[in-house]
Subunit: 338 residues, 4 copies
């Protein structure tokens, strides 16, 4: 960190800053400039220690150096993390196309949907059983019954299953059914849940919070990595902005930024990012062109009968179309699909 003193700072003020830095275990260096004195402390300094520096007399500003995440960073691990889930490897040259219903509704719907995923060349199945809903009066998912349906559809079609976990108490039950634990946007900073999935042997797909910065997303992944679970995928699913024309704003900048600063795979969710099936294809293609490692897509055989989020679901024929175009874009950016 760099501690910038006020112009009014006395030598004694500077000494206090230096003592505090030494007390915190650091080696301070002082620069007496023409206008101001600056104390530099090299090495990682935790946020709590920086906060304290701001309180000392005649300190003008305390500026962090470097990034606060470590295990998730490219400088910690240079090569891409690749995550193997059944036959699917995420983070390598092959793209992931994970599709499925917003929610499991019936055995027939989940089966029919899983078959459509395979037919379109998809290699993963997504589906919700526990649904985080803004209103308590909305459909909340089928719970464990939904997981059973999803697991059956996933087994029959040999597709790894991605499903959301909403509470620490569900962990051991969820582990019986799913291949990847999804942490939803609303729980990105539910730290007890992050710690719990960090103890699991299953890979984790971590969605960016609705108003989380990329630094916060990486720090949330750090909670999981620090518990020993190295198989974390990051997911850009749109952020909340002032714009209301679309459900969320898909932050496409996030994809190359995350790939540059972290070794973790990055998945895009254009269904939630747009909230409108008509916008899903162009935004999905954009994500792949920008370097995403895969897509999470909602589909439904009959969106107008969906119990949740029908307006953003593609029908199977649209998924076929999308899959073909993704495959062509993939080649341009040095990737493959199928």
């Amino acid at each position: 960190m760099i501690i910038v003193m006020k112009q009014a700072a006395s030598e004694e003020d500077v000494e206090k800053v230096k003592s505090k830095a030494i007390e915190q275990g650091h080696e301070p260096l002082t620069i007496f400039g023409v206008e101001r004195t600056v104390v530099a402390v090299s090495g990682k300094v935790i946020e709590d220690n920086r906060a304290i520096m701001r309180l000392l007399d005649n300190v003008h500003e305390v500026i962090p150096i470097g990034r606060p995440y470590k295990l998730a960073s490219r400088s910690y691990k240079e090569e891409n993390t690749q995550i193997k889930i059944k036959d699917l490897i995420i983070g390598g040259s092959e793209l992931a196309l994970i599709a499925g219903p917003d929610s499991a509704e019936t055995k027939e719907q989940t089966l029919e949907t899983a078959e459509a995923v395979v037919a379109a060349g998809g290699n993963g199945l997504r589906g919700g059983a526990f649904k985080p809903r803004t209103s308590p009066y909305s459909f909340q998912g089928l719970g464990e019954d939904g997981l059973k349906m999803l697991k059956e559809a996933s087994d029959i079609n040999n597709l790894p299953l991605f499903s959301e976990i909403m509470d620490t108490q569900h962990l051991s039950m969820m582990e019986k059914y799913v291949d990847v634990l999804q942490v939803g946007a609303r729980n990105m900073q539910n730290f007890k849940l992050l710690e719990a999935v960090g103890e699991s042997k299953l890979p984790v797909l971590l969605k960016r919070g609705m108003s989380a910065t990329l630094e916060e997303l990486l720090l949330a992944s750090e909670y999981i990595l620090a518990r020993g679970n190295e198989n974390v995928m990051l997911c850009e699913r749109g952020i909340r902005t002032y714009e209301t024309a679309t459900r969320n704003t898909f932050d496409v900048n996030a994809i190359p930024f995350l790939k540059m600063n972290s070794h973790l795979p990055v998945i895009a969710d254009p269904s939630h990012a747009t909230g409108d099936s008509k916008l899903v294809e162009p935004v999905a293609l954009a994500a792949i062109a920008a370097g995403a490692d895969g897509l999470l897509i909602e589909i439904h055989p009959r969106p107008d009968e969906a119990l949740c989020d029908g307006p953003q679901a593609l029908v199977p024929t649209q998924l076929n179309e999308l899959s073909k175009k993704v495959s062509s874009i993939a080649k341009v950016v040095g990737r493959t699909l199928n």
Copy 2:
């Protein structure tokens, strides 16, 4: 809801919309306008049913009527909810001044702080034992040990204790120590936690999520109310915007908006809303002038030794000053403090 048809809509399209509405249990009425046809459905319609309407052929737009929350609304309950916690009544004419440390650190610090609260005329004690921290490398709170310290300080000084719950598994343990369960901003849409505190007999202080709309805050309170816990306080603690000059943006509009549309008490937290002890007093006074039912204020006897959030903590003498001014503003808006 109002279903606005596209200009191209046929009579058959309109019929389909009407049938779907009847299927959903509603009574649709049709208006054939000069340019467009509109189908109106009166009565409450859940979001999931509105979503389905948007998918029917030649539907242009589906517009909700009325508010999606019910139990939290003024139209459901006209008089202010008053919540009794030990000797403190929140939501009546007396204001709440709940102060304390960001985190319990030592027995001495919590005791000293609680005494300072009483001395300043405060009537509630706040303090964290489980801390939601952005980075896994930051101080995470003392856990149950912290709660013990806080309870002792609260008992000695006869101040009701407010503390944050971070996980459903902690509920029964927390209930042994605290008088009010606080749900933090990061957990405002941790719906399993909302359901759990909805089953508790303790009052709940629900903080607005960092990017939650007021409607979402009220729907989150609805999760708690719907489980039978009527003692919910809402808390405005600043929202995330593009502005970085302050830690958060305190949405003072929220206070009169919530008081107008809901019967629940509204508490303001100027410490987190500003992140800067120099801004706490003016923003606290603003909150009271705007109609808040109370304040949540962080204090520390020696902020430069605080383990967390020192820069936003007032020292005891500043709390005294604040308390006096709050008392004067209170009179102007028909309230009292002390």
Copy 3:
């Protein structure tokens, strides 16, 4: 518009609403629902008239129907607007690749840059002479001298010239040099400037304001179209959000949304949208994959000598690379470049 009455509304209240609608020149229709009465007014209603309705007794809500822009909308004009500027046609199957320096600095730099644009297969030259700078102490551009340099470079290389106009008083002077008048993000709601360029014979590139909604962007274009200038291009250049990892957040959703709802061409500016030359290529490819009609790219032969915005400038070899990849992506989405 739909006027939703409060439950407490009397027949008299409803009558007043109907009279006001008639006074405004509309034909109101009333629906007496089980819970509420609703008055529907079909046809376009201007915002000012809707605002007045909200003030009548026992009116609960006034809901607009349809979109407030007309000339810019797809329903007004179904086919894509194509804009011919010298040999370049924007909005057809060929993509626009408009590149150049942030600012004209010297005759040599502008010439060298224009040659690099041609070499990379670009078909338009961008360059600033009047620079809107946040600080009065930053480089403000060379003014008319800069335009002269840019025009010379543009003429020699037969590239149409795009440059920003900052004030109504500059219009006739600017028209001597440029082929396209660019209205910058900070001036998107400088309505007098919009009216002025609406009177010009030159095409206009209208950048989205830093926090403008897509509806506001289209309404800003409506100011220009309404004055008779039909040659308007819209430009997505990133919006301001809470995220600080990148200079702006590129709203890629905006591209398909605008193409769907308007007939005007849509250009993407990944240089300002990211502020970081390392992110320009992936975001540029994303924009084309999402359906943009062209790109606006900042380049500089020696970014570390640039007087403004060097960190987001590509060097000529990077533009070559980008151009090749754009060309490949173009084919996948049914477009061409070169």
Copy 4:
């Protein structure tokens, strides 16, 4: 500025940074830390020079020190700027209560309104003649005719007149009628307009842009101050956020932040900040409690006949009420009204 080198930086890289700093006219100092090397440059460094540093080899980050505005800052001028306009002094102990119609509509309405301002104890008249409207189809103001009406009403009642200027070409005409030139939110970064009003002898009320940071607002004021016009008032009028329950989000934190960091007076506009007459009073009181130097309030004798923004206008009796309460709050914070 502080230039933080990458860990991989060689001595030669560091030398290049130092040479560039010397070339820019600064005196660099180097600190060789355990992990990284840091080059510190004291004294003001303009943004353009910092940008260039970011481009040198193995530079990790360039961090500004100090604030980029100068003339507007408290450290440049310690005492409060007081602006005398007729009998009104803004920025002293007396508060400003500037009220009036959104727009001049008729001679009768402006006169009636001005009289209501005087009756309520107001000391300034606001009113629009040139209206920046999102849609070209909305009421655009009466132009110079409106100014004539407003001036007459202002003269008769001896109230200084505040009115918005929208274009540089209007300046000399506006100066004939108004006492204060208002620059609207949409023009806060219309730099040619800022320069023009900077040359005027009239005081300027500068509204914060819809998504402007406080630093940008102060830099916009710096454009005016740098041209020699020292009489600038800043105005907080709400910012654009994700929240849609109110028209804008009133950033009450801005008031104490601006007062602390600048010597310029700060006026609050709760009418635009809320967009709802029912919220104007509580938010106005909050602004005064937080330390604002005055209020800008929209009133209309008959809001349901207003040509623009009726829903946010108070009626004269409400202004009376507000004025009394402001007067009481004023005393608590050491100010007066009437």
